[in-house]
């Protein structure tokens, strides 16, 4: 039994694929895009099917995910955010096919042009197409932001679980370390670390993902502290189940709600941080188009072509705004304390 949503989605994705095939040129980037696109289609299909199934089950039985989804659907802001995110994800995956120009191609005859039919938002100081660069910038920002958040979530959750579950000396050690970590102004630490490790995508992801773990660890720790005293955890302990299994099987699944909310809200913060570092010249390095460094050159030519600042700035704003909307909605839907 296939739902109608799935048919629409698959049809749409197939059409875009056919459309993009006709525009494809042979390079590595396109291959990556195809692969990610196929994966995305699969994942979305799976998700839709699942949501569909939970909706079809007896309405008397209310599972948590079912309830959450219902609450989320009722929240207009969250749905709006989700739609923006889906559009941005589509744009960033299909970037090589959507871009009207090569984002790296310079044209010395056409520097700093005003918007025209050929260049929708004009060109920058090297004659590169701003619109294409912005689309590619979104692709990079989303990719790095998501990777950094995943790393950040894993690290923060791990530390929070350990500190909360074992308590005592381990907890003390981790929390003091986090406190000290916290007392260095974050941006200075990020800049110093990048200066030490060198600029580069991998280093950027690493630095950004370790600099935000304290919030995570703290929240997870406090919810573990509450869960630790639950009867089922005590029962598991009495039965002699090893700690590792108790943490993974009984405690982690109950911390999932705050993890999801925090991670969603953090994506926005991460993207802002990466843009800020790129603005300072420490993030994504030229000639790779990064929204932050586009803004920084936009500022230099502020009186000649405002589009150089407005396009990348608005793109950052849009990404972060969408994730914040979704994160707020998720918090309202998942946090029973707030929704009552």
């Amino acid at each position: 039994m296939i739902s109608k949503y799935l048919i629409v989605l698959l049809g749409f994705n197939l059409l875009t694929l056919i459309f993009s095939l006709s525009k494809a040129t042979n390079n590595q980037d396109n291959l990556i895009s195809y692969l990610i696109f196929a994966l995305l289609t699969l994942a979305l299909g799976f998700l839709i099917n699942k949501v569909r199934k939970t909706n079809q089950t007896d309405s008397n039985i209310q599972t948590t995910s079912n309830l959450t989804w219902k609450k989320l659907k009722r929240n207009k802001n969250a749905v709006f955010g989700l739609i923006i995110i889906i559009i941005l994800v589509y744009i960033s995956i299909l970037a090589p096919f959507i871009m009207p120009h090569d984002p790296l191609e310079m044209n010395w005859g056409k520097t700093i042009q005003k918007p025209s039919l050929e260049h929708w938002f004009g060109t920058d100081e090297f004659g590169r197409d701003i619109f294409s660069r912005a689309i590619y910038g979104v692709r990079i920002a989303l990719g790095i932001g998501l990777l950094a958040v995943v790393l950040n979530t894993l690290l923060g959750t791990f530390l929070g679980l350990i500190a909360g579950y074992y308590g005592g000396r381990v907890d003390n050690l981790i929390m003091r370390a986090i406190e000290m970590w916290n007392s260095i102004p974050f941006i200075l630490m990020a800049i110093a670390l990048i200066a030490a490790l060198g600029t580069g995508l991998l280093n950027l992801i690493l630095v950004v993902s370790i600099t935000g773990i304290m919030q995570f660890a703290r929240v997870i720790r406090s919810s573990v502290l509450g869960l630790k005293k639950a009867d089922y955890v005590l029962a598991a302990k009495v039965m002699g189940i090893p700690d590792r299994q108790i943490i993974i099987r009984h405690i982690l699944p109950n911390c999932i709600a705050p993890i999801i909310v925090l991670a969603t809200l953090r994506i926005g913060e991460m993207i802002l941080t990466i843009a800020g570092l790129s603005f300072l010249g420490l993030g994504i390095q030229p000639p790779m188009p990064a929204l932050g460094s586009m803004l920084s050159s936009g500022q230099q030519y502020i009186s000649e072509n405002l589009m150089m600042s407005i396009v990348p700035g608005t793109m950052i704003l849009l990404i972060v705004f969408a994730f914040n909307l979704l994160g707020d909605g998720l918090r309202d839907a998942l946090d029973s304390k707030l929704s009552n």
Partner: protein, 312 residues
Amino acid sequence: MLNYILRRLLILIPILIFISLFIFVIIKLTPGDPALVLLGERATEQALNQTRIKYGLDQPLHIQYFKMMENFFKGDLKSINYKQNVISVIINRLPATLELGAAALVIAIIVSIPAGIISAIKRNSVFDYISMSIALLGISIPVFYTGIILMYIFAVKLNWLPASGYGGHIWTTEGFKYFILPAISLSFVLMASTTRLTRSSILEVIQEDYIRTARAKGVKEKSVILIHAFKNALVPIVTNIGNQVAGIFAGAVLTETVFAWPGVGRLAVNAIFRRDEPLVFGCVIFLSAVYVIVNLIVDLVYTLINPQITYD
């Protein structure tokens, strides 16, 4: 109380030692020879060696660390670039940053607390909807984007205010003009989060029994909100403002870059770029100490607004 303050100040010592070690390791991990950066590519081997000896770069690492710490506390640590004492370099730049941060804080509080209260009272009204939308945009906008847009409108197009630079202290007329744009753009993030929080905590407090009691007693609605509700909603608001001081710091580095502001944030960033090791060391320790002390002050302010919290 005094005990608590003393204890917190004592904890500062291990924290600062940790930070100094941490930043020292980072500095030493940074690739490139500081002597080479200082003298340029064409320097002779002899000159390089002399510079290394002059700044103690030939010593083993642990001796370099202790030397740096000793000099820092004696006030002898000299910046390589400025040829001056690190602490005096920082203190020269400090007023610009502190005044900018304070101005941003004041703007944010003046705008966001009334806006949050009105949004909470007139829940779901047009005002509520608009101010919440602006607030959500405000926490999503990069601080340098706000800066650039403000600069374009008020400096480039309208030509009302200077585009960038520092014109003196905030209390002088000339200096004040230079303060307006950076302070507003820096205050934006804090403004947005404080408005949201003020609204939600007032909404929470308003459902409490003592508010109903106050209303039943016939207290005027104005004083119900301003005295009974607001005072109780203040704790999370102050917590948030305290936490956001860090955000102001991060924002200040970016805002100072946008507006070419001669503050400590930009000093630290430039020091890292120019491999001015003593200055990086001094800046990070100094800024971290300021940051920790601000957090202590925020904790103490809690006792003033909420007598239930005691630190004993």
